[in-house]
Each structure stands twice: as C-alpha cells, then as structure tokens.
C-alpha cells in the first residue's frame, strides 16, 4: 500500500498542498488531474522527496516517513524512499552524456553497486520491455522524444520501485509520439506496476487508471473511478474542468 496522509507543502507563504490524503493499492494506477498550479507535480515530488513536505506522513509499503517543519528526513529515510520510487519527468531529463543503456544502468551501478555485467543484462531487458532493445548504444540526442521518454521509463523501472511517479509523461510530445509512451505505460499497468500519473491525457486517465483524483488549489476535490470522475463528476469544479478535456 502507498499511502499519503495529510501532506502539507508550502513554498514560502504560498501553501501548495493543504493536507492531501491519497491511498494507492499495489498494482493499480492513480491518475492526478487538475489545473496547472493545482499541486499535481508537487504532490508527486513529495512522494520521492524531491520536495520536502512540512507536515504529514508518507507510507511506501514497509517504510513510513513522518514529516516535521524543522526536522528534515534522515539519510536512511531519503535512501529508502528513493529506492522504492522511480520518477518519469515531463522533460525526460535523461543524462545526455550517457547512452540509453548507460542511463538505465546508472542507478544500479552507482547507487546499488550492482556489477556492471549484471546491471547491463538487466538494463537490456528493461530496454526490451519499452521496445528499445536496438537503441541501447544510442545517445539521447539521437533519439526521438517518444524514444527518450521510453528510455526514461526504463531508467525509472531499473531499481524495481514499489511505485512509479510519472509527471505529465506525454505533455512534451506530439500526439503520435505520446501514443508510444501511452502504450508502454499501459503495458506496465497490465503487468501490475503501481503508478501515480499526473496527466491531462485522457488515454492515460480514462483507460489506464483505476482511480482518478481531481486536484485543485492544493486539495483533492474529488476522487473515484475514472468513469465517475471523468464521466459523471459530482463536484462543480470537477465538472467544469472535465468539460474542457477534449
């Protein structure tokens, strides 16, 4: 179980998350939708501690981290959280000086100290899984946007995380390239990879997710099955937002 309880985050005096609760069952996909600036990205970044919440609790399976305004997480907690999470960024953020394979194995070799040979075997299998086995030796600059994002997905999967955090994974791509990324994420969902996906893409929110949360002004306004939140929402703000999605 992935569970966030009463997560609060502020940048200076600007409170961007106002006590968010979210539960994600293992093997399911949760889509976060909502207007830009509503807190979707910040919430995802709080799950892998790229942002440090000022209050609340984060549970990632066997690991529990409680947040306090003046007590940063310990090194062990940070390592534990990072080992249990993988992140896919809107702008990919691949390491441009490493090949596709080099990107995927970087965490295994540098962080987990897996011997290079074993890491590369795992890395090739992961590239195979995202359909890029033949691009192992290509540098990111030689790949299309869709291919780069698939390498980034393989990189995030490398540590075998408990939850994949995808921050608008298709927003930087044209519809055609976005489709290859959607296909890969759909396949991962079918394989039972737990994911939280911030997205405006109905192919992800509507077809892949098992629950959808509408996040606005730092609060989850409505959460439920995709058919309900996207098809027949109850809250007026959700209604207004959803009516603008295609």
């Amino acid at each position: 179980m992935i569970r966030l309880t009463n997560i609060e985050k502020a940048f200076g005096t600007n409170v961007v998350l106002k006590g968010v609760d979210l539960e994600v069952k293992e093997g399911t996909v949760t889509a976060l939708i909502g207007p830009s600036g509503g807190g979707k990205s910040t919430l995802l970044r709080c799950v892998n501690l790229l942002e440090r919440p000022r209050a609340g609790r984060l549970e990632l399976g066997d690991l529990t981290v409680d947040f306090h305004p003046d007590r940063p997480p310990t090194r062990e907690q940070l390592n534990g959280v990072r080992r249990r999470t993988g992140m896919v960024f809107q702008a990919f953020h691949l390491f441009p000086h490493r090949t596709a394979l080099g990107n995927v194995v970087e965490g295994l070799i540098t962080v987990q100290k897996v011997p290079r040979k074993d890491a590369e075997d795992q890395g090739r299998a992961l590239l195979e899984r995202v359909g890029l086995a033949e691009k192992a030796n290509a540098y990111p600059g030689q790949l299309s946007g869709g291919q780069q994002q698939r390498v980034a997905i393989a990189r995030a999967l490398a540590a075998n995380p408990r939850v994949m955090l995808c921050d608008e994974p298709t927003s930087a791509l044209d519809p055609e390239l976005a489709q290859e990324v959607v296909d890969v994420l759909t396949a991962l969902a079918r394989d039972g990879v737990t994911m939280i996906v911030a997205t405006h893409d109905l192919r992800l929110a509507g077809n892949v997710a098992s629950q959808v949360a509408f996040l606005e002004a730092g609060t989850i306004v409505e959460i439920g099955l995709p058919e309900v939140v996207l098809g027949n929402p109850t809250h007026p703000r959700t209604k207004a937002f959803v009516s603008h999605l295609n």
């Binding site: 990072r82 999470t85 390491f95 000086h97 600059g141």
Partner: protein, 226 residues
C-alpha cells in the same frame, strides 16, 4: 651560414632546455593545482554555507583584483620580511596556482550553473546522493562546457610564466634575456623565444580540440559549435 641563423641555432637548445625544465613544469603543475583549487572554490561558493561561500568570494576578489606580478613579488620578496622564505620556483608555483584557482573557479561555477536543474533531480530520483550526482552527472557535463574557457586560461598561464623571470626563476624568457645580454642580439633572441612560446601554445590548442571532440561525442553534429 648567415650570422643570425647561427645565433638562432646556438640559442635554440638552451632556450628549449629552459622551457622544458621550468616553463612546462611550472605551467602544468600550477594548472593542475589551480584547477583543483578552482573546483573546491567553485563548490564552496555555489553550495557552501554562508561563511564558506563568503571566504571563496573573498579569495577570488583579492586574486583577481591585484596584479599577478605584484603577487609574485609579495610571495618571493615580501614574505621573507616576516620570516617566510620560499625558493624562487615554489614561490612562482604558489603564485600561479593561486591565480589559476581564482580564475578557473568562476569558469567551473558558471559551467555547473549552466546545466538544467533537471539533471540534479533525475540523479536524485535514481537514488544518487549529492556527491554522486555531482561526480557522475554534473561534472562530466560541466567539463565539456568549461573546456574552451579553461584552455584559454591555460594558454594565458603558459605565457604568464615568463613573469617568473622577474623573481629569478630561470625559465625560458630569462634564458633569452641572459643570452641577449651576452651577445647583444635582443631582436633575434626575443623573436626566437616568442616562436617557441607559440609552438608550446599551438600544441595546447590541438590538445584542446581533441578533448572537446572527446567530451562532445554524445552530441549530434548540429549541436557541436565549430
């Protein structure tokens, strides 16, 4: 054989010998030490706590704001007045290293700052610590950005080593001065010294090109600025 060719020929070996014995080691050592000093200073300035950052700024301020020749004189002629006596070569080495450290620190700081924040975040997201991210992700990319301005500094340094002549280091320029003082042929001698400096710097330029190609091998041809 014309007279001036004989002068060139007779001076060639002592000049190159002085270059190889003093100019080259002085330049190489001060660049290596200066680069290490520059990296530490850049990191201190960019990431250190306020007092450390301030100390780094102070060091850069002092070194950049005072003439190199004055610094060399202070170290070699000035410090003995307070009981610190340093031989000519180590004094020059200290002076040039401190100088390189200050200038290269600004180059390295700029190169690190030029990388997108996403590179740090991607490194953290795969579990790296700050130090691992710096070593594995940031510095290799910063090195490519920093190579042209660092090569600039290095080439300047090779020529600036001639200032060590003023604190009695028998490097190449001083060798030329001595020979010219004996045979009264300053035009020929200083021209020859200039050509040998040019040759040294040409080798460095060629090495710089090779290094840039190597560090930029992940870039598509369009991204490589020629």
């Amino acid at each position: 054989m014309p007279h001036w060719v004989e002068i060139l020929r007779d001076a060639f070996v002592p000049l190159v010998a002085a270059g190889v014995a003093f100019t080259v080691p002085l330049a190489l050592l001060s660049f290596a030490i200066g680069l290490a000093l520059g990296l530490v200073t850049a990191l201190a300035r960019a990431f250190g706590p306020a007092p450390v950052s301030l100390l780094a700024r102070f060091y850069v301020w002092i070194i950049r704001g005072t003439p190199l020749l004055v610094q060399l004189f202070l170290i070699f002629y000035g410090l003995p007045a307070v009981g610190i006596v340093i031989d000519a070569f180590p004094a020059a080495l200290i002076g040039f290293s401190l100088n390189m450290g200050a200038y290269t620190s600004e180059i390295i700081r700029a190169a690190i700052a030029s990388l997108p924040q996403g590179q740090w975040e991607a490194s953290f997201s795969v579990g790296m610590t700050w130090g691992q991210a710096l070593r594995r992700t940031i510095l290799p990319q910063a090195a490519r950005v920093a190579t042209p301005p660092l090569a600039n500094s290095f080439i300047s340094l090779v020529k600036d080593t001639s200032l060590a002549a003023a604190i009695t280091v028998t490097e190449m320029f001083q060798a030329a001065q001595r020979i010219a003082a004996a045979n009264y042929e300053p035009l020929i001698l200083y021209s020859e010294a200039a050509v040998i400096y040019l040759a040294f710097c040409s080798v460095l330029s060629a090495l710089q090109n090779r290094l840039e190609t190597r560090l930029g091998r992940h870039l598509s041809p369009l991204e490589v600025v020629r």
